[in-house]
Amino acid sequence: MNIAYAYWRTGLALLALIVTACLPAVTSSYYLLGVLTTAFYLAVYAMSWDLLFGYAGEVNFGPTFLIGLSAYAAGLCNTFLGWPVWVCIPIGTAAAMLGGLALVGPALRLKGPYFGLVTLVAVLLLGHAITIFSGYTGGEIGLALRDILTLSSTGNFYYALGLMAITAVVLRIVVRSPLGLILEASGQDSVATEALGFSVIKFKVLAFMLSALFSGLAGAMTVFYFGTASPGTVVVVAVTVQIIIATIIGGRRSIIGSILGAVFLVVAGEFLRPLGELSTTAVSILALLVLVFAPNGFISVFGRRGAR
């Protein structure tokens, strides 16, 4: 271990954080802050997803199952029970973690795309449930919340930045720790990892719990940022697609990669707005190009060894 190198890296990450945190002082564009707020929440989704996909080796095509559970649990608590935001967010997160627990069973039994399909179906079922119970959930129209996090753009920016920073730090500590080592090993070859004396189930449960924790937090905070919870923002497959694209074009198995990917995705979408209705298509084309020609993502462009 090169201690100086580790310090360097921590220093740089801190520098990037400080630079970003100073942004509200530099720019008077609340709009930019709004864009970045969305990007930061997406980054949290992406990091949580990557913990499962990149490290634990689980192809989860239903991150919005966890996000949606949390968003709606928190939203319902706020709308119908009138509980304050800071109570609803933990409740939502707990719902997401229960959902994560429910996914562990299939994850242990099924491989790769098959597990992916189960998670996809879980999302579809959640969507159907929202429609069926539209009396409570508001169906396709969505749920209007009584409260929001804060009115201030700067405030929302710092909430999102804070969550992203905490997520990044915690996940980074986890994946760099002995725990992360075992997690990665069990994702790569669960039989061999078992043979080294690790009970893989325990670590898979942990991975799902961590992923659910952060995507749940972000999901609940997202709805309190928007002021509404609707399938279009937290459940539909399009959101999943965004998360997957952000992770992969940023560079999987990399915390900073997920952040880069998410920020790129959102900011590129804004930049390409002059293209009108083709802007989303243009972003997809860009993402596809990255995927085909640099499958290891942006992060590989910055001189990192192939993440095999």
Binding site: Y114, T281, L291
Partner: protein, 292 residues
Amino acid sequence: MELLLQILISGFIIGAIYALGAAGLTIIFGVSGILNLAHGAIVVLAALVAWYCALQLHMGIYWGGLAGVAAAVVTTYVLYALVVLPLSRSRQMAADELPVFLFVATLLFALILQGLLEWFFGSTPVATPALIDGVIHIGGNTVPLNSVLIGVVAWMVLGGLWLFISFTRLGKAMLAASMSPRGLAIIGYDIGRIHLLVWGLYGLLAGIAGVLLASFIGASSGVAINLTATAFTIVILGGLGNVLGSLAAAYILGFLGTLTAFLIAPSLREIPGLCLLIIILYLRPQGLFGRH
């Protein structure tokens, strides 16, 4: 009795269209091991092009349909040449990660295609004219001749596919490739060409399914994802790579949905299918009719 007959007739037509779409998907998986998420988008493309050519360019329904199928085949080759081939040859990822990358890449392709379709044709649903007008009465049920024709055409195409696979050398080679690509290579077949053939055939089937769909119930860019999901459910239920299994699964799913809509509530139509899928995946991951 009348109700039962209605369920049977309705299930027959819907099942045939489902089967048509899923047959191509499952062949692709059998031969190349690729789960193509752009499926729904390609089906919709065929439907919209057929509609556009038939009505906006006044080419008539038959030429329009042909144009739709041709568009699907061309797009399929574009997908193969620009996305699938380069990724399969890429050395930048571990071999076991390739399926996931292909999965995501086809998903992106679907999004791009969907965006372009929306831009060109708009997102409003459209339906092509009926191929023939009139209705027939079967046991007290009114059935449009067009629906009967669609069911018949779908079955004829499925029959043609069966004939192709069972009785032509190329078709047999294709089937053989899904059992043992290596076996095919050692007897002197160029696997690359077989892949080209399979993707072309897939485009053809998806295109025909799209054109029939446009005539039967209409299509819009928004339904692409649902079409993909349905086709996937069928393919997984039937066992990946198993054409006959897909056929059976298409009918099981078609009848299950129709029965639910008839007997319980139309709004719950999709749910039994999804639950069945989860149960099957859990108990029998190789599908109801999977071989392996």
